[in-house]
Symmetry: D2
Subunit: 367 residues, 4 copies
C-alpha cells in the first residue's frame, strides 16, 4: 500500500531517507495560477531547520529547496510540483554498531520486523528529515489558504510540565523565543527546564496547538473524511505524536451536555455564530465558522545520551548511550510540521468541497 | 470527494440516513474463503442496538441485518458484501419545528452551510444510525482477525468523572454491566452518576479504551498510513469523538525521554519484547509486538431535554428543549463502534502488509 | 484491491450477483441539489432490461429500482445514493452440472483460479446483471450532464458484418428499431443476419459508438487520468468489450501526420474550433471542444446452444450445449451500458476540473 | 484530481516538463528485497532515448537516471524510490512565436482551455519526455515480474501500411532493426516507407503489440479493475495512442460465438489450457493462463515540417511549419513505453491479488 501519499485532490507524495541523496515531495493537484517561488517555501523550511538555538540539534543542513517542475514564470501551472532538498551533512561514519541493536523509542525494531532489514544510517525513512517534504508542501498549501483568506497560527503550548497561560497569550511572542511559545514567561521557564534535562542527558516532550481562522463553514465531509478525522490522521502521521484532541478534547469526556454544547446566536453583523467553542470549530465533521482549535501531544525525543538497556538483533542484551547531535526537545521544530499538516488537510477538503453543490458546478461551467 | 469510503484494500462504503429507508454498507476487498453468516454480524449489531438498558434510548429498532451479496454457501466469495438494515421506527411526526432551527452540538448548521439544505428528519446522515454500517463491516473484519489470531478487547474506561481502577480490572465484567465497564464498582458508581444526569435532563461524556493483542509486528506503513495515524482517523470519524491517544498519550508530553522510552529485552521464549509499553504497541507507525492500547474521548450527548438557546435559520433566537428518546450517554453503545473501526483499520493494514516483501510474493506465486 | 469502485470524486461501488438477492450500487460524491426520482433512473434501466425483443433473452425481470438513501424531497442531498434492484427470476434449478465444468468464453475458469471456488449459479458476479448498478448510476451522471448542457448519443454501429452507413445516419431511428441502429436499412439487414445466427444456435458480436457533445474544453487530466484513458478503462471494464478506439482510432496507425492532424480555425461566432475531428474530440487527454467520438468492439455472446468442447474441473473433457435463455447478441442491450460508463467518466472528470484553477477557487469561496 | 499517479499498491507518480529542470518519478509500494541499481533502469531508458537512428529525433539527451531514495546496499527497502533525470538539451531559443499559436494535433489549445495559460516551451507536461518517468518505473516493475517468472515481449507490429507477417515472426529481429520489428523484411519495407514520409516532410503512425507470458491465472479484478480495463487505461494514457484491443479485438465484433469462443482442454502435463486464444489471455477481467496479447494504435507524429493551417490565441489564422528535430514516427520509441505501462499494470494487480484468499493470509501470517 505504500502510504507515502496523502490527500485526494491536493495530493502529496514524500520520499527520501536521512542519509540518502536527499528528500523531497511531489505535489499533484495544485490549482494553476498560484504565484509561487522557492523563497516562499524556504521560509517554512527555515522554521524546522536544525541549529536554530541551543535547544535544537547543532547539525548543519542548509536545507535549500529546489523547484524542479510545475512552476512557470512564477506561477503554478496545474502540473505536479516536484521539490527537492539534497542531504548535506552525512558524516561518513561507522554504522556497524548502531546497525546491530534496536534503539528504544525508535523504529529500528519495527522496520526489521516489516521488511526483514533496514537502512540503519540514522533514522532512515523514519527520520525527522522526512518532514522536510511535508513542510515544503505545506508551504504551498498555506499559500493557497492565504489567497482564500484562511489563516493558521501554530505554537508550543507546553514543554514538559511548563504550560503557557491563557492570560499571557501573545501571538507576537511566538517567533520571539526559540521555543515558539506565545508567552514570554512560560518560554523562559521552559528554557530552564530544558537546560535541566540537557544536564541530565535527558529529553522532554510537549504539546503544540494550532488555531485556524476564517475557514468557510461546511468544509469537511460528513462520514469518514470528517475535517477532524483527516486532521487527526495528518497530525498523528507525524513521528512523535501520541495524542490529538480538538476543542474541549479529552475534558469533554467528563463534562455534561449542558456544559459542552455551544449555543448558537448572531453576531453584530447578523451572522450566525456560536457563543462558545467547545466544539473546536467542527460540528458533524464540518467547519462551523468558529476557529478550528486542536492540540497534539509530542513525546520526548527518544535519542538520549543516558545509558539505556536494549538488545541486539539476536536478542543479546546491550547497554547503549546515544551520543551525537540530538534535539533535547523536538516540539519547537514540530510546530511548523503541525502547521504544514493542518494546511495540507484543509486545502484538500476545501478543494473537495467545490463539487458539493450543483450550483457550484453551474457557477463554473455555465456562468 | 464524498468521503463515505474507508480503506484501501479492505474497503467499506456506508450509506443511509436515520429516517430514510434503511442504512447499510458495501464491503469490497474481503478475501475469499471466510466463513460468514448473518448471525455472526447480528451479534455485533446487538451490542449497539438501542433499548439495551435504561441508559440507552428506548427506541425500538430490531436492526436485523440482511446479507445481499458476496457470500455463497456460508463463505465469502471475494466479491462485494452488501449488508442492509431497514429502518423501522420512523415515527411519522411533524418535523417542521426541528427543521426551522439549529440544535446546539449537532450538525444541522454545518449541513446547511455545506449543501444549502438538509434532510432534517432526525440526525439524517449524521445520525448514530450511520454507525450500523460500520459495526456490520467491523464484524466481518473481526472475523478475519480472529482467524489470523488477533484479538480486540474494548470497554468503557470512564463515564463523566467516574473512571475504572486498574487494580480492579476484570474483563469478564464488561458484558456483565450495561455500561460495558471492566470494573463492577466503577460501573455501579457510573450508574448513580448517570441517574443524576437524567434527573437534571442532562447527559454525560466518557472515554472508551481498546486493547489489541497478538497482532504480528511490522503492521502499518511508515509515513502517512501509520497504524496510529489510520487508527486516529478511523476513531475520530465517529461522530462524538473529541480526543484520541495511544499508549502514554497526552501524559507523554510532560515526561522525559528516560521515562517514556521502552527498553527492549527478551522474554522466556527468547522473543524480543519491550519491558514497558508507553508506546502503546506502535513504533514508527508499525506494530511492535506489544498490545496496541488506545483511548477515545467521547463528548456528552448533545440532545438534552434542558432548555437551550439557539437560533432559527434566519438568525432569530429561540429557546428549545429536545424532547424525545435520546441516550443520556452514548459511551456504552460507542464501545462496539470503536472496536469495529479498530478492526477495520487493522485488517486493511494487515492485507496491505502482504505485499511488503519480495519473499511474500514468491511465497504466494512460486512455492 | 477489490475493484468494485470507480471514480475519484463521483464514485460508484457496484455489488451483487446474478442469482443472489439482488444487485445495486452506491453513488458517493453526487453534488447536492440535483432533482432526481426513481422514474428517471428506471428509464435507463428499461433500455437494458431483458425481453425487449426477440433478439434479447426472454427472461422476465422487471428490474425495478429503489432509492434507499441520499434523496430527500426529490433532490440529492450530497450523501451517498444507494440504489437497489432485487433479483426476481431465479429459477430454482439444479446447478451441479454447470458447476462441474468451465464454459468457453466465460469467467468460470478464472474465478476458480483466483478465489479457489465460485458462485456457479449463472454468471455470478460476472453476469450481465452486474451492469444494472452501472446503468442506474449512469442515469444519475447523465442527469448532471444534462443540467450542465452536455449530451450523449449512443447506438449500435455494427452487428456482425452489417454496419450502418454514414449517409443514412438518422438519430431518430435509434429507439425505433430493436437493435438501436441509427439506420433503418442496416437495422433490417442486421435482423436478418441475427435470425440466421439464431437458427444456427450461434451468436454475433458488434460495435457500439458514442458521441458526446457540448462538453466544455479542457476536461480530463494531462497524464494518467486523461479523458480518453479513463474512457478506455470504463468501457473496457464492461464484460464483453475487446477493443476501444477514439476518433480515427486504429486507422490513424496507417495514416500520415498531414492527413491525421486537425487544423484549427474559427467558426462563425469567432470561437476557435477544429476543421476536422480525427482526434475524436480529445487532445493531450483533454476535451478540445469538438464532439467526443469513440467506438467499442463487443464480442459475440459466449453462451451458445451449439455443442462445444470443454473440460471439467478435474480436466476430463466434456461436450456441452448451453441451453437456456441467452441473448443471441448483447450489443443492443450494451448500448445503454456504454452510455452509462461514458457519463460516469465524464462527470467524474468534470467535477475534478473544478479545482484546476485558483480563479475557480475564488469564484466559489470569495465571490 | 491531478492524475499524475497510477496504481493502487504499486503506485507511481511522474512529474516534470520537457523544458524544466528535469523529469522523474516516485515509486511507492515496491516490495522490499528486490535487487536494483541504476544500470538496470538505464537499459530501459536507453530504449526510448532520442538519437538512436535516423528515424528518431537527433536531439541529444543522455537521460542518465539517478536513484535518490529507496535503495540501500543494492536492494529496495520498501520505502519510496525516487528517480530523477535532469533535462540537458534545452536549447535557449525564442519561444514567443510558438507561444502565440496552437499546433494541430498537440495539446497547446487544451492546456490553455484547462488552466488559462501554459508552459509553451516544447510540449511542456504533454511532451514525450514525461514518459521517462514511466519507463524508469516500468523497469522496476519488470524486475519484479522477472523474479516472479513473468515475461513481456513488445514490438512494432506495423508502420503506416507496412505490417509484420506472422509467418516471418522472429523475436530476435526486434533489437536488430531500428524499428523494433520482429520481421526483417517488414522492417526494411517500413524504413523505405519512412524515408518517403521524411522526404515529404510528413510523419507516420503505426501499431505496437505486447505479449505477456507465464502470468499466473486469476490476476485482475472482476469488475472495474479488470486486467484488460487497467491495461486499456495504462496504454491509452500514453500520449499518441488512439486505439487499444486485446486478443481478437475489433475483429471479434464481426465474428460468431462459435468462432470466437476458446475451447478448454488439457495439455501434455494435464494442466487446463485453452485450445485457441481469441480472448487474448483474459476472461472476465482475469488472466486465464494463456499469453496476454494486446495491440495499441499510435497516431502519426503531429509535429511535421509541412505547412499547416492553424490559429493564434486570438483566433487569427496563421500558416505554420514546425521546424526542428522531431521524430518522423514515434512508434519505435513507444515500444518500451508500452511495455513499461503493461509491466506497471501487471505488477499492481499481481500485488493486489495477494489478498484475494484467506489461505494466502494464513500462508503469510500463520505458517
Amino acid at each position: 500500500m505504500a502510504g507515502s501519499t496523502l490527500g485526494t485532490i491536493f495530493k502529496i507524495t514524500t520520499w527520501g531517507e536521512s542519509h540518502g541523496k536527499g528528500v523531497g515531495v511531489v505535489i499533484d493537484g495544485c490549482p494553476a495560477g498560484l504565484s509561487l517561488d522557492e523563497s516562499y517555501i524556504q521560509k517554512f523550511l527555515n522554521r524546522r531547520k536544525p541549529g536554530q538555538s541551543r535547544f535544537t540539534t547543532p547539525r548543519k543542513e542548509s536545507d535549500r529547496v529546489e523547484i524542479l517542475s510545475g512552476v512557470f514564470e512564477g506561477c503554478t501551472t496545474g502540473t505536479p510540483i516536484s521539490l527537492l532538498v539534497r542531504n548535506e551533512d552525512q558524516r561518513s561514519k561507522d554504522y556497524s554498531e548502531i546497525a546491530s541493536y534496536y534503539r528504544p523509542g525508535h523504529a529500528d525494531y519495527t522496520f526489521d520486523a516489516k521488511y526483514g532489514f533496514r537502512d540503519y544510517r540514522g533514522g532512515g525513512r523514519s527520520s525527522g528529515r522526512e518532514t522536510i517534504g511535508r513542510v515544503a508542501a505545506g508551504a504551498v498549501a498555506s499559500k493557497i489558504l492565504a489567497e482564500t483568506g484562511v489563516s493558521l497560527l501554530t505554537y508550543t503550548r507546553s514543554i514538559g510540565p511548563v504550560s503557557i497561560s491563557e492570560d499571557r497569550f501573545d501571538a507576537e511572542q511566538i517567533p520571539a523565543n526559540p521555543l515558539y511559545m506565545p508567552d514570554a514567561i512560560a518560554a523562559r521557564e521552559a528554557q530552564f527546564y530544558l537546560e535541566e534535562c540537557m544536564k541530565e542527558q535527558d529529553s522532554s516532550g510537549g504539546t503544540v496547538e494550532c488555531v485556524i481562522t476564517d475557514l468557510p463553514s461546511g468544509i469537511g465531509e460528513t462520514v469518514f473524511d470528517k475535517l477532524d478525522a483527516n486532521l487527526a490522521k495528518a497530525i498523528f502521521s507525524i513521528g512523535a505524536v501520541k495524542g490529538f484532541e480538538i476543542g474541549s478534547g479529552f475534558s469533554a469526556a467528563s463534562k455534561k451536555g449542558s456544559e459542552n454544547n455551544d449555543a448558537f446566536c448572531t453576531d453584530d453583523t447578523g451572522r450566525i455564530v456560536k457563543q462558545t467553542n467547545h466544539a473546536g470549530g467542527i460540528l458533524g465533521g464540518m467547519s462551523d465558522g468558529s476557529p478550528i482549535v486542536f492540540r497534539a501531544a509530542i513525546k520526548p525525543t527518544p535519542s538520549i545520551a543516558r545509558p539505556q538497556q536494549t538488545v541486539r538483533k539476536d536478542g543479546t542484551p546491550v547497554e547503549i548511550s546515544i551520543a551525537g547531535r540530538h534535539d533535547p526537545v523536538i516540539v519547537p521544530r514540530a510546530v511548523v510540521v503541525v502547521e504544514a499538516m493542518a494546511a495540507l488537510t484543509i486545502v484538500d477538503l476545501l478543494l473537495a468541497n467545490m463539487s458539493a453543490r450543483m450550483e457550484y458546478l453551474k457557477k463554473i461551467y455555465r456562468d
